[in-house]
């Protein structure tokens, strides 16, 4: 009896889903590595705000990869079977993702990478921000703020994801110029605020009074470090802390002088990626819709790489950025 009820529930969900697919449109899949942290949620929301999605020309289906490479692989296989027109890809693993790209490429489905790199030359194009540059920028900011000498700790992203690899590269390059700065600890907190909180607490206990600055390869982790410092009863404003991404809580923290951050343009990356996907599917007759193409060259033909610029968040622009963010996340 119970099983029958379950079947009926499933049935209605399925039939409901079936009816949701009404007219023929461009079917584009967005395979993102995970949706637990704010940045990818901003990315996804921005994608859905793209004018062509709003108009119904494009139907976007978001596939949550649950931080598991084999899940992303399976999702790619499913998209191939269903004959998706193009795929936007934010991989969890820089190497494993290549396999997924190959699967799509073999079926002649264009794949546009966004935000996170994958080691594949079968990618139709990649649009992202230069993570080495941002890693560089944030490390510089912290180094300068502690007067060029002292101890820093680095909170890293998931090991093996391109953002972690490149931001680390940027971090270490910048710090090399300051021989009097020592990196006490460098560990992954998997982009997670909660993990960073625990890690920072432990470090504060292990190195009392010795930590001078904190470099968080993303905002969530930097925010976690701020929490830890506050809960330890220390004055967070005495710790130069840097993050990357520009998530809402970080912008507020910047406003309160608790940290510095660099905005990653999720809208640019997401909508730009969709523009490139449509360019691949429709052809050069397609005109891009994302705002950031004002500053970046669309070009005569599709390039392999497009760079979305970083925007350092300062006291001057933080209010504007906050209201823009509001506009994006409100319906």
């Amino acid at each position: 009896m119970k099983r029958l009820v379950t079947v009926l529930v499933v049935l209605s969900l399925i039939v409901g889903g079936a009816f949701a697919q009404a007219k023929k449109q461009y079917k584009i899949g967005a395979a993102v590595y995970g949706l637990k942290a704010e940045y990818m949620r901003l990315w996804t929301t921005a994608l859905e705000r793209h004018p062509d999605v709003q108009s119904g020309l494009v139907k976007i289906t978001v596939f949550d990869g649950q931080y598991d490479a084999s899940v992303q692989q399976a999702q790619f296989e499913n998209m191939v079977v269903q004959g998706y027109d193009a795929i936007l890809f934010v991989p969890i693993d820089i190497n494993a993702g290549a396999q997924a790209v190959a699967t799509a490429a073999n079926a002649h489905i264009p794949v546009i990478g966004s935000n996170t790199r994958v080691k594949s030359d079968q990618l139709t194009s990649y649009i992202g921000s230069n993570d080495v540059l941002s890693g560089n920028m944030e490390a510089e900011a912290v180094a300068k703020a502690i007067g060029g000498k002292g101890n820093v700790v680095i909170l890293e992203g998931p090991i093996g994801q391109s953002a972690q690899i490149e931001r680390r590269q940027g971090n270490l390059e910048a710090l090399k110029k300051y021989p009097k700065i020592k990196v006490l600890e460098m560990k992954t907190a998997n982009w997670s605020r909660a993990e960073a909180l625990t890690l920072m607490e432990d470090w504060l206990n292990a190195y009392p009074g010795k930590i001078n600055g904190v470099i968080g390869q993303n905002d969530e982790m930097a925010l976690g470090a701020i929490q830890a410092i506050k809960q330890a009863g220390l004055n967070v404003k005495k710790f130069p802390i840097a993050g990357i991404d520009g998530v809402t809580d970080a912008m507020i923290a910047v406003k309160n002088n608790e940290m510095v951050s660099i905005l990653q343009d999720a809208t640019g990356q997401a909508q730009g990626a969709l523009d490139l996907a449509l360019r691949a599917v429709i052809g050069e007759s397609y005109k891009p819709k994302a705002a950031f193409w004002k500053d970046v060259d669309w070009g005569k033909t599709m390039q392999k790489q497009y760079s979305v610029p970083w925007v350092p968040i300062t006291q001057n622009n933080v209010d504007n950025l906050l209201s823009e963010r509001q506009a994006l996340t409100n319906r």
Binding site: M1, K2, R3, V5, T6, V7, V9, V10, L11, L13, I14, V15, G17, A18, A20, Q21, T61, V62, F63, D64, Q66, Y67, D68, A69, S70, Q73, A74, Q75, E77, N78, V80, V81, Q82, G83, I92, D93, I94, N95, A96, A98, Q99, K119, P158, I159, G160, T188
Partner: protein
Amino acid sequence: MSERERVSAKAEMSSRDQGKDGEARLKGIISEYGIVLVFFLFCAVLAFASPYFLKPKNLINVLRQVSINGLLSIGMTFVILTGGIDLSVGSILAFSSVVAASFVSTAFPGRTEAAPIGIAILASMGVAAVLGGVNGILVSRMKVPAFVATLGMLSMGRGFTFIYTDGMPIPKIDPSFLVIGQGTIFGFVPLPVVIFIIAFGVAWVVLYKTRFGRYVYAVGGNEKSAKVSGINTKLIIFFVYVISGVLAAIGGLILTARTTAGLPQAGQSYELDAIAAVVIGGTSLSGGQGDLRGTLFGALIIGVIGNGLDLLGVSSYYQQVIKGAIIVGAVLLDSFRKRND
């Protein structure tokens, strides 16, 4: 036995069965084949809802995607039949897969060229057998409850994986290894599916045709009776955990080959799907009752639901709700059936 004796034997049976023969027979069929019927029902619904479902390519995808969980579920069936449970299969899968990767990858520190894949396979199965063996000893000899012992191994196994890889994925796997996850037979049957079918066949023979299989059922049905009957219950329990570990390793080999990297994050929560498949398939968590066919269809149902909902673009969160509902439904149906016995 004479006809008269058989008739009087029927009379001796519980009075509830008498007179309800027809209804009992229908119930019997439903409980025997219920899982198969439900599976085909789901397939029928999905075929109606999505034009892609019955496409051969899709069906093959489903089978390929099910093969890893299928392997884990086979091992889990053995364990649950003895009244135990193995929460560590995901971690064992991860550890053995990075061990395998470390042998066939030139990116692993200290390795200049890939070892023969045979070595990688043996090493990963060996390591998994050891971890499974530890589980087995804890449960059979030290009387640690299976839940606790394998929960500990879930943590430890994951820890070993991170220690071994220093937290980093192992890329650059030798192409010859990849065939395990990506090769095909006859041009279209994926190798993972073949591996699963072979493993299933072997498991079938072991469970239903050998003494060992009988002992597994006896130990699960009533450990004390089994012991008094001269069965080495400790050894049987030990071995089912080893089997579970080794099957997890095989799953890990396929996973590594499919994702072309040894990923220390792999396999998280895989034990839940394995347990779900076994439970949906009608195997009782108290042991001694259940079969592999049920597990097979349990795994297929999970795979089909996941695939179907993906095809329809339904969020993975709904999948989780539905999966949970099916598990509870299956168990309720099962206990309802038992109460009527």
